[in-house]
């Protein structure tokens, strides 16, 4: 009662209110911008200036019109601060969509082109031996990729992780600075150089100028992988609070056990993620494997003997040496690319699960 009375008695406006656009304004403005530019290009099409309706231009110019319109509208209704906020929101969203477009395009193109050959039963049960034209499969390439990348991971994870532990826990002064510097330099090595290094190393060691074998490919990938593992693990180890190390020291725990049982478990989730990123970085390498592992149409389970096929090289050879039935080769190339993407995706999913299991628990 008293409330209504005072409200009627003093019809003061709340000095804290400001103009506000209705809730769905942005959506309505966006759709109408597209409608307006769409109408414009529709007219252009009718007048014969363009062949057919230009949908991409409609979306592009429609979005620009939206940015301008929402800014002006908001400026006159809500004031300059809100207007800027809405403009930047629009720009950031556009940037996000633009960043995602190539990814979507890539995945969809690979799916569309790769699925036909991917779904043929022979793709994962046969090699390309004695196949001309249709049929055959990429089993030899899948096996080769898994083996070579697996060995590369087995070599580079211990070396990389131990270097990272040295750099964060023990390294001081010149040696540590030199290691950090050369790791940074190694990150920038072109992959072909890694391949040439492995090739030169093994052809000199075995005195064989035409040497090709799977393990050499693994060594080339190791050169590319170690710096990524070192950098990512180092960053993760640095994130472990010093308080935890001191807490362990204060309990009379020696340094090496502190690192093994406190520092590593605490940062394990991040380290696993970093390792997975480094695997994704090298699993798609073509050039070094082309040089040192070569290519073949046959199965080869022996890392130390004979050429070994890998998925990226498989994609390359199918595309580069198209036989009489061109389409069959192209289909297999796309299917190989699709397989590679799926392997990386599965590895990332696995890493997520591992990270989820091992990450520090915060639940109540």
């Amino acid at each position: 009662m008293t409330l209504t009375k005072s409200a009627t008695a003093a019809p003061l406006t709340n000095s804290l209110t400001a103009g506000k656009l209705p809730r769905r304004t942005s959506l309505v403005v966006l759709l109408s911008s597209w409608l307006v530019t769409g109408a414009f290009f529709f007219v252009l099409m009718l007048s014969g200036a363009t062949e057919g309706f230009n949908g991409v231009a409609t979306l592009f110019f429609g979005t620009i019109v939206y940015c301008v319109a929402i800014y002006l509208l908001s400026y006159f209704v809500e004031g300059v601060r809100k207007a800027k906020d809405r403009l930047v929101t629009a720009l950031v969203t556009v940037a996000f969509v633009v960043a995602l477009l190539p990814l979507f395009s890539l995945v969809i193109t690979t799916l569309v082109n790769g699925l036909p050959a991917f779904l043929t039963p022979s793709f994962f049960t046969q090699s390309q031996r004695n196949v001309v034209g249709e049929g055959g499969g990429a089993l030899h390439a899948v096996i080769g990729t898994l083996m070579i990348t697996g060995i590369a991971t087995l070599i580079s994870v211990p070396i990389g992780l131990l270097s990272a532990i040295y750099l964060t826990e023990y390294g001081r002064g010149r040696l540590a600075r030199a290691i950090t510097f050369f790791v940074d330099v190694m990150t920038g090595i072109p992959s072909i150089v890694a391949g040439l290094f492995a090739f030169a190393l093994f052809s000199l060691l075995f005195n064989d100028p035409g040497i090709r074998f799977g393990f050499g490919g693994a060594v080339a990938l190791t050169v590319l992988m170690i710096p990524v593992v070192v950098r990512s693990s180092e960053e993760m180890l640095k994130l472990v609070p010093n308080e935890l190390r001191e807490a362990a020291y204060a309990l009379g725990v020696p340094k090496w056990l502190t690192i093994l049982k406190v520092v590593l478990p605490t940062s394990l989730a991040g380290i696993v993620t970093g390792i997975m990123i480094s695997i994704s970085r090298v699993i798609g390498e073509t050039a070094p494997l082309l040089i040192i592992s070569g290519f073949t149409a046959s199965m080869n389970y022996d890392l130390f003997n004979e050429r070994m096929m890998t998925l990226p090289v498989f994609v390359y050879t199918q595309y580069a040496n198209q036989g009489a039935d061109t389409q069959a080769y192209l289909d297999r190339a796309w299917a190989g690319a699709l397989t590679l993407i799926l392997i990386v995706m599965l590895l990332n999913l696995g890493a997520r699960i591992i990270a989820r299991i091992f990450s520090p628990k915060l639940g109540r």
Binding site: R172, P241, E243, L244, R245, E246, A247, A248, Y249, A250, L251, G252, V253, P254, L257, T258, K261, V262, P265, T266, F358, P360, K361, L362, G363, R364
Partner: protein, 259 residues
């Protein structure tokens, strides 16, 4: 179980910087000693020299002697790891290990050292330590939950339980209550009072009421100015320091007239 600490002419350095100068004092067993003084005067630095945690910081070293029951901590061939098993420490911010459950946190000193322990013994040790830290009733039904699920005060008591689980002779506390609310602070002060019968306790605190409540002896540290080394100005019974200090600076500080 508790031991006597004797410090002779201790100088503490960070690289070339002399942080604490010429400290000599004697801490009797089964007492609580409080170290008070303004920020940056070297109380925590001095405390950390008592279990060789100081040298964890690169470039840090000390000169002088710290004797625990006559054994020099800084004598040749002394293993800092063995020192730290006898002199436990509780830090300013509660720092339970995030990857471990509450029970494992208590057992951390055992487990991290790769020592095997029968399940029954482990359970006994968990219960005894948590009861010693006045936390048992609150957590006994959720020992397998992560340590970070506790409140700040409970986490700090968990850290104390973790420290006493390795059965040290001396417990150092570096501002253990500064991140806690008054009720948790009271719980920890009561705990210090109880633990006094078993351990030698040295506590650094900014809270002078706390020093006067819990401690038997009090040391007052001060610095002449920035960049100068910290010094132990006065060390005496707590009642004397707070009621009738012999040095003017101490009286100014404890009566709040400082600076």
């Amino acid at each position: 179980m508790s031991k006597r600490i004797e410090v002779n002419d201790l100088n503490v350095y960070y690289s070339k910087f002399l942080a604490v100068e010429e400290v000599s004092l004697v801490i009797e067993p089964r007492t609580v000693t409080a170290l008070i003084g303004p920020s940056g005067c070297g109380k925590s630095t001095f405390l950390r020299t008592l279990n060789r945690m100081h040298e964890v910081i690169p470039g840090a070293y000390v000169t002088g002697d710290v004797l625990i029951d006559g054994n020099n901590l800084y004598g040749p061939g002394v293993d800092p790891v063995l020192v730290r098993r006898q002199v436990g420490m509780v830090f300013q911010r509660p720092n339970p290990f995030p990857t471990m459950s509450i029970g494992d946190n208590v057992l951390a000193g055992v487990k991290l050292n790769n020592r095997r322990m029968a399940k029954a013994d482990a359970d006994d040790l968990i219960e005894k330590s948590l009861q010693g830290a006045n936390l048992w009733k609150e957590v006994k039904d959720r020992l397998d939950k992560p340590g970070s699920s506790l409140s700040g005060g409970q986490q700090q008591r968990l850290c104390i339980a973790r420290a006493i689980a390795v059965q040290p002779d001396v417990i150092l506390m570096d501002e253990p209550c500064s991140a806690l609310d008054p009720i948790s602070t009271l719980a920890i002060e009561d705990l210090i009072e109880e633990m006094k019968s078993d351990y030698t306790i040295v506590i650094v605190t900014h809270n002078m009421q706390q020093a006067s409540r819990v401690s038997d002896r009090t040391g007052f540290f001060n610095i002449a100015g920035t960049g100068k080394p910290g010094k132990l100005i006065e060390y005496d019974d707590t009642t004397t320091i707070f009621s009738n200090p012999s040095i003017q600076a101490t009286e100014d500080y404890v009566s709040g007239r400082f600076g």
